[in-house]
Each structure stands twice: as structure tokens, then as C-alpha cells.
């Protein structure tokens, strides 16, 4: 019995030694595997440049006098580096409204980073999920959505094409907001209301004048 036990002990020691060997082999092979894996995943090294498909860099509101195609007012806001870039939008107001005239306005949304027209996505692809709201402050103007305006499935007009009457001489601001996925919208009051949507565009043009 005793000698048997001894045998087992020596066997165990041998086993132990061989195990240390095995262990070191195991470590070595694992490190090897690891380095292989490392080199494999280095394929990801060069990331592709981000394409910013959703950004709206240029918002343009173009007004044309219904009676005089040469009487044009253009409100332009350019945010060169998008919504999370550090640059603030630069606004350019070209022309002024003529008191007593009626203007038809259309809005244009553009992504200059990807050179992509966003307007179509809103007016043609997903009008039912969008809604424009305008706000006028300090300016003596009346606002309606044009009869040619894009109509949503729920009967509300999108606010893409709008009609503006410049009354008396005044200076003030025009704000345009585009809401996405509103729970409900209503174009029946003057400038439009919505609830539950999130803002895709919110630009206020200051220093707009009627002369």
C-alpha cells in the first residue's frame, strides 16, 4: 500500500512538472493567439470620414412679390459646421419688403457638407411627419399658407409655400421652425401650432424690414 502511495506521489510530481510545462506552453500560445487577434482587428484602423446626412446647413426663405417678380426678399441662415459645430450661423438678409405688397414664400433646406437637398425629403418624401411654423414679431404682416402648399394626409398644410402681406412700414423678426414627428399639428390659427414634435429647424431672422 505504502509503496503504491509513493508511486502515486512521484507520478503526481511528474504530472505537476509536466503541468508547469503545459502551463507555460498555454501562456505562450495564448499570447500568440492574442497578438494574432490584435493584428487581425487592426483592419479597422482607418475609419471612414463621417458623412453627416442629417445636417441642415443652409436655411433659405425666399419671398417674391406676387405683382413684381423682381421684388425679392431672401432670408438666409448658414451654419457651416452643422448643429454641433462651434461656429454660429451667419444670417444674410437681402432686400426688404414693400409696404402694401403680397409675397409668396418658399423655404429651402440644404446640407452643404454632403451637398444634399433636404427640402425634397420634407416636402415630397415625408410631408406627413413634418410641419413648419412661422412667428413674426414687430413686423406688421399677415400670414397664410398658400393654396399651392403641400397638404399633409391629415389635411393640414405643411407650410412649405406661404403667402405674406406686408402692411405698414416696420422692422422686426421672422422665425421659422420645422417640427418632426409631432403628435398633432394645426394650421387653422394664423401661424400654426403643434405638440409633441422635436425641432429640426429653429431660425430667427432679425432686422427684417417693411419699407
Amino acid at each position: 500500500m505504502n509503496s503504491n502511495n509513493k508511486n502515486i506521489k512521484t507520478m503526481k510530481i511528474n504530472y505537476l512538472n509536466s503541468n508547469i510545462m503545459k502551463t507555460s506552453k498555454f501562456i505562450l500560445s495564448t499570447i500568440l493567439c492574442l497578438s494574432v487577434l490584435v493584428s487581425c482587428s487592426s483592419d479597422d484602423d482607418a475609419p471612414s470620414q463621417p458623412n453627416e446626412e442629417e445636417v441642415i446647413t443652409d436655411v433659405t426663405l425666399s419671398f417674391t412679390n406676387d405683382a413684381d417678380a423682381n421684388d425679392v426678399v431672401v432670408l438666409l441662415s448658414v451654419d457651416e459646421d452643422g448643429e454641433d459645430g462651434p461656429l454660429n450661423p451667419v444670417q444674410t438678409i437681402t432686400g426688404h419688403f414693400t409696404a402694401g405688397a403680397t409675397y409668396t414664400a418658399t423655404i429651402s433646406l440644404f446640407n452643404s457638407i454632403e451637398n444634399e437637398d433636404i427640402t425634397i425629403e420634407v416636402t415630397d418624401v415625408e410631408p406627413d411627419e413634418h410641419f413648419f411654423i412661422y412667428t413674426v414679431n414687430g413686423l406688421d404682416m399677415n400670414f397664410t399658407r398658400s393654396t399651392n402648399d403641400v397638404e399633409r394626409a391629415d389635411g393640414n398644410k405643411l407650410g412649405f409655400e406661404t403667402s405674406w402681406v406686408a402692411n405698414t412700414a416696420s422692422t422686426g423678426t421672422i422665425r421659422v421652425q420645422l417640427f418632426h414627428e409631432s403628435e398633432s399639428v394645426d394650421d387653422s390659427n394664423e401661424f400654426g401650432t403643434q405638440s409633441g414634435g422635436s425641432s429640426d429647424v429653429d431660425v430667427t431672422f432679425t432686422g427684417v424690414s417693411i419699407q
Binding site: 470620414q49 463621417p50 441642415i56 451654419d79 450661423p89 457638407i113 425641432s199
Partner: protein, 802 residues
């Protein structure tokens, strides 16, 4: 031959000294490692050819012994058999220590005391299986709140991040079966990818006392352990089925464990979980459903001398995020806060719409250990984790079906650990770790929140434990970590310049190759190396078997995480721009803690105190407002301050009458920055009292009423904004800082267990959460701006043990 000789000798002695056969030998059998008594050890008295068995306290008594030598052969299951010879010349006492290593492997066989602590001098609380099972339909973060001083920071009700003494995310380490979870834990809305049902025991360690797991656990460590392996032939399992009224949820989990005396074992466990829209007392919380599937398998061979284990776990979750929390700009946020009700309330649905998260996590582990006599135990472990995180936002057109955030994080870790326990009064543990991590973010049509990066970690540690005498234990440890982050990130030139990186980090810019044009972007290759030292020293003093005190001092160091370094973009649900900073230094915490514990048959008290001074504490702070065509956004930047946190956690349990128990847990914490301004997102004072009636004679029936009282947080940093409406000139206040009022909720829980057969029993548990359907908002829920928290919830759970 020897035997005969001795018998003969005895016989001779016996003949001559027959009148002296009235001596008594008292003895005790103890565990060589920790001195605990060994019950039912087999003691063979050679000379008398007689067997006796040690009693419950490890004690035994042999009477009517004659003068002379006696030989005892002591054996016990799981111990090395020991032979000892005692010279009897009068009444004697003998203490016998058995090598009791194997007992560790068999602990689960002893029901009721099947759990054990991971640390000796740290503030550690262990959650047992029975507690974990109550949270079968919930998440890890919910279950951990059982521990005083542990709260959670939530995004809605399904994304629950544990918070230990006011710290969360990268400041906590979560270990799943000895594998450190690598699952983009930096994100405040990234819940740990763990199925709570895979845990058999969970340890919560406050502070960084457990250095073997990592040196950056500034807040604490959560150690999740699967079922213990029993080294005997057995087959058992359990199934839990549950249903909840709020959210019309159901959960199913099942596990099966097979083991053999030879040491072979196999475990398999799986869970399914689903719920639809939750309900606040006054309205539906539209788009708050969840779907989750998980499975884990484990197999191997576990012997005293050596063993190996293979472990694989998989979890896939799809989590909807409250529709009303998707906002476009700060104006929407002001409207949401002022509206008092969510802006989107629809009928109940199981649908999971955008915004939502979809996360898949794979964990594969292989472990081998070998014990060397008179030396200790060597363990080698390799693990691989693959974490894929998809976050879907509300986007225009086709893009709506594509994830806005898509991250694949792969981690390989190799760990070697040596545990020297030959000298049981002075144990030493050391090891080394190497880790490689790769984060891959494809182009998703929005700028990457986190860039592609590779990370290399190397760590080495040594911990030691010294049992000075029966009452005093000292332990300590030292750890060094090296981290290297190698990232590739496209920055907007405008952002790069605005941050001043063009002056400080021009050497990181990768010039475009021929034919490449990055336009308004530039490609940067930031590489950072961090060296971190962490250390801990602690002691435990047992005044007697009722009173003890723990004192622990620790130093921990955490390098900035990828979000803190590289964040650069719009965070939709918060309507804010978050900016990382390449200049951040590691934060270094000094934590001192002490615990007083009192244990009695009917009264238990644990009182914990801590003070944590964190130098270069990294946090987000609003610094300004940025205008865009989408409106205004506040800008939050990662900054550093010297923070101080201190507080106390109390847990007490008192059997105040027959079958009645009162349990209280309360915690109080304060946190301040350099300028004595309160830190953001600190839990307010809260106290939870439970009165429980239990009667073992009625099928282990118990019923409890719980009061959860959370005070209003009256100390908070004022990060409010005043914004001028550019159109009307009106000033609107963005109040994102003021905490909601305190609240007081009542819960009910009841259960009973019925034996179906010898080995099968059925446990039925019924619960009511928020009995009075109280409306409340939680300061630590990031969706508190948009909606109330959950209303009443009735839960029914059936558990079958077999």
C-alpha cells in the same frame, strides 16, 4: 509491524498501570485556514479501535483513557486525513487543525451559509440568492439597491446604472464570474449587460479595496458569482416564472446544474423577459417597452489540486426610450419641463420604436488553476468580450431604420494570479494582467460619439493578508496599471481650433494621403499613455464574537475614459452638446472608511462611514450656449475639480417580537467640488423601513410592508440657463437643476413555499410596488424632466426548485 509493536507496548503498560485508566482527552477539530470548527470529523482511536465523531462545535471527548500514547486518525470529507499521537499522562486537551482547502469547493452544499465575502477589511455586503430572486424581473441595478448606500442613476425604468456612494459608470467595476465587464460602461445610459438571474451571489464592495480586480474602482466593485460547484453527484435546477401588471410584463428563467464526484460539472441557465409600455399613475409612458434574452453555460472540472472552467454568456436586449424624451433643441426641453406631462401619450403597446437601444453582449472565459503543495494556487484566465451597442434615434426617411450610434467593443484579457496560502496566517496574492481592447464605429450618417480606438492595458498587483492574532487581521495591497489609448478620430477643423488643439496637439494630426480630401474635417491620431498607482491597507478587529470594527484606507487612480477624452457632439435626450477634453489627467481618489458591526441573535447593526477625496474628479459642466439652424444648445464640457464625498450608511435588523422583524437601511451622502459647490446627481437622504412577519410552520410564510422614504435633494449645483427668445425677446428659464420633491412609497411583499416532493418545492411570491399609486419623480432619473416615475405594480412570481 509498528502497529503490533505498539499494541504490545500498550498491552504491557496496560497490565502494569491498570488502575490509571480514568483520564479524559478533550479535543477540538478546526480548519487550518481560518480556525472554524469542523463538525462531524471522523476520529479513529487506533489503540481502542473505536470511532467517534466531532460535535457541532468541532469538539470531541474520549474518556477512560489509560496512561500512555494514543494515536488518533482524523478524517473529514474534503480534508486531508491527519494522524496524530498524544502522550496521555493525565486529563488533556488537544487542538487539531485539518487542511481544509477542499471545503471551499463544497461550500454550496452547506445550505444557508453558502455565501462568503470577497474581501476582509473592505465595506462589503453580500446579496444572497433569495434576495436576488426577488429581482428576477428587474435588473442588476435594481437589486443592488438592497445595499445601504447603493442607489442608481436611471434613464427611464429599464436602464438602471448602479451607483455606489454617489459614484457610477466608469468609477465602478463590475465583475461577472471573475471577468471585468467591458461594455461601454462610461455612458450614463448604458446599463450593465448582465442577466440578474445568472447570479447566485452578488458582493458589493464600496471603495477600491479589492485591488486584484482593478485599481480604478473609485466608487466600488460589484462581484457577481454564478452558482458554486459542488463536488458530488447531483442534478438540480430551478425555474422562475413571473408576471407584472405595470407594463404587462412577464419573465421566465430556468437553470440546471449537473455535477459529479469526480469534479466534472456543467451548468446552463437562460432567461426571457418582456414588457410593454409602463404606466405612471396618471398616464402611459409611451415607448418604454423592453425585450431581453440571455443564456449562460459553464462547464469544467473542479478538483482540489487542479481544475478548469469554460464559461460563456450571452445577453441581448432591446430597450425603448420614452418617446417624449426625444427633443430637438433647448426650446423643446423648456416646453417639456413646463408641460408637467409627457408631450406624447399613446395607448398601451409592446412595440419598441425609436428612440431605442439594442445591445448584444458575448462573454467567453477559460480558466485553469493548479495548486502546488506548500506553495499555493496558480490561476490562468483568458476572457473575450464582444459588446455591440446600437442606438436608434428619430431620423428622417430611410435613416430612421439605421442606428445613429453603432459601436463594437472587443476585449481580450489574459490574467495570471498566484495565491500563496501555505502560511495561513500570512497569505499573499499577486498577479499580472494584460488586456487589449478595440472599439469600432462604422459610419452611421452622424458624427461618431466615440471614435475608433485601440486600448492596451497592463496591470500588476500584490495583496497580502496577515492574521496577527485571533482578533486582529491586517491586509494591504499595491497595484500598478499602464493604459495606452490609440484613437483615430475625425474632428471638425472648426472644433479642433476652437478647443485650441491646433496649438497643443498638432502632432496628432494625420496628413491626408494623396488624393484624399477631408474637406472641413481633419483626421487626428491621439495617443495617450497613463501610469496609475493604487494601494490599499485595512484591518479588522474583533472585540469579541459580537462586535467588530473595520478600517480601510485606499488610493485609487482612474485614467479618463473615451467619452471624457473624445466626446464631441449632440446628446439628443439631454438637448446638449457634450465635449470631451484631450488634456484630462487621471483622477486620484483617497478614501478612508470605517465600519462598526454588531451581531447578536436578534439584533444586527452595520454602521459605515466614509470620506472620499478625489483629486482631478472629472465631471460635465455647462459652459455656454451654442446657436445653430436647429436652435440653441447648452454646451457641457468635461472639467476637473478636487471633489470631496462623505457619508454614512446604516443597516440594522431587529427581531422585536416572536416572528416579527424590523429592518432599516438609511444612507446619507454629501459631495462638494473645489469651490464648496455641491456635486451634481448626488443621492439625497433616504431611509427604507421594513416590518416583516415570518412563520416557518406555515410553509415558510412571510409578509412584509416596506416604507421607502426619499428626501428632496436640497443641495445641487445651479446649472440653470436663461435663454432669450430671439423672436420675442422674452427670457425663458431652463430649469434642469432643481430636484423634484421628496417622496414616500409603500410596498408589500409576501411569499410561501410548498414542498411538492422530497426534492421539489414551489415558492409563490406576491408583491405590490407603490401600493398607493403615488406620483413622484426621482432626482436620479434622467427622464424626470419628461414624465413621472412608475405607478402601482402587482407582481406574481412562481419559483420551482428541483
Amino acid at each position: 509491524m509498528k502497529y503490533y509493536f505498539m499494541s504490545l507496548m500498550l498491552f504491557v503498560f496496560g497490565l502494569h498501570h491498570a488502575q490509571n485508566c480514568n483520564f479524559t482527552l478533550l479535543g477540538e477539530v478546526k480548519d487550518f485556514h481560518d480556525g472554524t470548527p469542523i463538525t462531524a470529523a471522523n476520529i479513529y482511536i487506533k489503540q481502542l479501535d473505536k470511532y467517534i465523531i466531532s460535535d457541532f462545535d468541532g469538539k470531541f471527548k474520549i474518556e477512560d483513557l489509560c496512561k500512555g500514547e494514543i494515536t488518533l486518525v482524523i478524517s473529514h470529507i474534503g480534508c486531508e486525513t491527519k494522524t496524530t499521537t498524544i502522550d496521555i499522562s493525565g486529563d488533556a486537551f488537544k487542538s487539531i487543525a485539518l487542511e481544509h482547502h477542499i471545503e471551499e469547493l463544497n461550500e454550496v452544499a452547506v445550505k444557508g451559509s453558502a455565501y462568503r465575502n470577497t474581501t476582509k477589511t473592505a465595506q462589503e455586503t453580500v446579496l444572497k440568492t433569495s434576495t436576488i430572486e426577488q429581482y428576477s424581473h428587474l435588473s442588476l441595478g435594481d437589486a443592488l439597491k438592497e445595499v445601504s448606500g447603493v442607489s442608481s442613476i436611471n434613464t427611464g425604468n429599464s436602464i438602471v446604472k448602479p451607483m455606489i456612494n454617489g459614484l457610477h459608470s466608469s468609477r465602478l467595476l463590475i465583475l461577472n464570474n471573475d471577468v471585468r465587464l467591458q461594455d461601454q460602461e462610461w455612458g450614463i445610459e448604458h446599463a450593465p449587460n448582465i442577466d440578474i438571474n445568472s447570479a447566485n451571489q452578488i458582493s458589493v464592495i464600496k471603495g477600491s479595496g479589492a485591488l486584484a480586480y482593478g485599481g480604478d474602482a473609485i466608487g466600488g466593485v460589484v462581484v457577481i458569482k454564478p452558482s458554486r460547484i459542488i463536488r458530488k453527484d447531483s442534478l438540480y435546477g430551478k425555474t422562475i416564472i413571473g408576471g407584472q401588471t405595470n407594463g404587462r410584463g412577464y419573465n421566465l428563467t430556468s437553470s440546471l446544474h449537473k455535477s459529479y464526484k469526480s469534479g466534472w460539472f456543467a451548468n446552463v441557465q437562460g432567461s426571457l423577459k418582456q414588457n410593454g409600455d409602463f404606466k405612471a399613475p396618471d398616464y402611459n409612458l409611451t415607448n418604454t417597452g423592453l425585450q431581453s434574452q440571455s443564456i449562460s453555460v459553464q462547464s469544467g472540472k473542479n478538483n482540489f489540486e487542479s481544475g478548469f472552467e469554460l464559461f460563456y454568456s450571452y445577453i441581448h436586449s432591446e430597450i425603448a426610450i420614452l418617446s417624449a424624451s426625444h427633443i430637438g433643441n433647448v426650446n423643446d426641453l423648456i416646453n417639456a419641463i413646463n408641460s408637467k406631462e409627457p408631450t406624447i401619450i399613446r395607448d398601451f403597446s409592446y412595440d419598441i420604436d425609436n428612440p431605442k437601444q439594442e445591445i448584444t453582449h458575448h462573454l467567453l472565459k477559460g480558466k485553469y488553476f493548479k495548486r502546488f503543495k506548500n506553495f499555493g494556487k496558480l490561476s490562468l484566465q483568458y476572457d473575450y468580450q464582444n459588446n455591440r451597442r446600437l442606438e436608434f434615434d428619430i431620423r428622417r426617411g430611410e435613416l430612421n431604420n439605421e442606428a445613429a450610434l453603432d459601436l463594437t467593443l472587443q476585449t481580450h484579457t489574459l490574467l495570471a494570479d498566484v495565491n500563496l496560502d501555505a502560511n495561513l496566517n500570512h497569505k499573499v496574492n499577486f498577479g499580472i494582467l494584460t488586456r487589449y481592447q478595440d472599439n469600432y464605429a462604422p459610419n452611421t450618417g452622424v458624427r461618431r460619439l466615440i471614435p475608433n480606438y485601440e486600448k492596451y492595458d497592463f496591470g500588476t498587483y500584490i495583496t497580502s493578508e496577515l492574521q496577527l492574532n485571533d482578533n486582529l487581521l491586517i491586509d494591504g495591497g499595491l497595484r500598478y496599471d499602464f493604459n495606452r489609448v490609440d484613437a483615430l478620430k475625425f474632428y471638425r477643423v472648426s472644433r479642433w481650433t476652437e478647443r485650441g488643439y491646433d496649438e497643443d496637439f498638432a502632432h496628432f494630426v494625420v496628413p491626408p494621403e494623396d488624393g484624399q480630401d477631408f474637406g472641413s474635417d481633419l483626421l487626428a491620431n491621439p495617443i495617450f499613455n497613463f501610469h496609475n498607482i493604487s494601494a490599499s491597507i485595512g484591518s479588522r478587529y474583533d472585540f469579541n464574537d459580537k462586535n467588530y470594527i473595520l478600517v480601510n484606507l485606499s488610493l485609487s487612480s482612474r485614467p479618463p475614459n473615451p467619452a471624457e477624452l473624445f466626446s464631441d457632439g449632440l446628446h439628443h435626450s439631454a438637448a446638449r452638446i457634450e465635449l470631451g477634453d484631450l488634456r484630462l489627467n487621471p483622477e486620484i481618489a483617497h478614501r478612508i472608511s470605517t465600519t462598526y458591526g454588531y451581531e447578536n441573535t436578534n439584533f444586527n447593526l452595520t454602521a459605515e462611514l466614509f470620506y472620499n477625496a478625489i483629486n482631478d474628479y472629472m465631471y460635465l459642466r455647462p459652459t455656454g450656449v451654442l446657436q445653430s439652424n436647429r436652435g440653441a444648445f447648452p454646451v457641457w464640457e468635461y472639467e476637473q475639480t478636487n471633489a470631496q464625498l462623505f457619508g454614512t450608511d446604516i443597516t440594522l435588523s431587529y427581531d422585536f417580537a416572536n416572528r416579527f422583524n424590523w429592518h432599516n437601511k438609511s444612507s446619507f451622502i454629501k459631495g462638494y467640488d473645489d469651490d464648496s459647490q455641491p456635486l451634481i446627481d448626488m443621492p439625497s437622504f433616504n431611509t427604507v423601513n421594513t416590518i416583516k412577519y415570518s412563520n416557518n410552520e406555515w410553509h415558510n410564510f412571510s409578509a412584509s410592508i416596506q416604507s421607502e422614504w426619499v428626501f428632496e435633494q436640497n443641495e445641487f449645483p445651479d446649472f440653470n440657463f436663461e435663454l432669450e427668445n430671439p423672436s420675442t425677446g422674452e427670457i425663458a428659464l431652463l430649469d434642469i437643476s432643481t430636484p423634484p420633491p421628496g417622496y414616500h412609497l409603500f410596498h408589500f411583499q409576501s411569499e410561501a413555499t410548498f414542498a411538492l416532493s422530497n426534492k421539489t418545492n414551489l415558492n409563490i411570491a406576491l408583491g405590490i410596488n407603490n401600493i398607493f399609486d403615488t406620483s413622484y419623480r426621482n432626482y436620479l432619473n434622467r427622464l424626470r424632466y419628461f414624465a413621472d416615475d412608475l405607478g402601482r405594480n402587482l407582481t406574481l412570481q412562481l419559483k420551482l426548485n428541483y
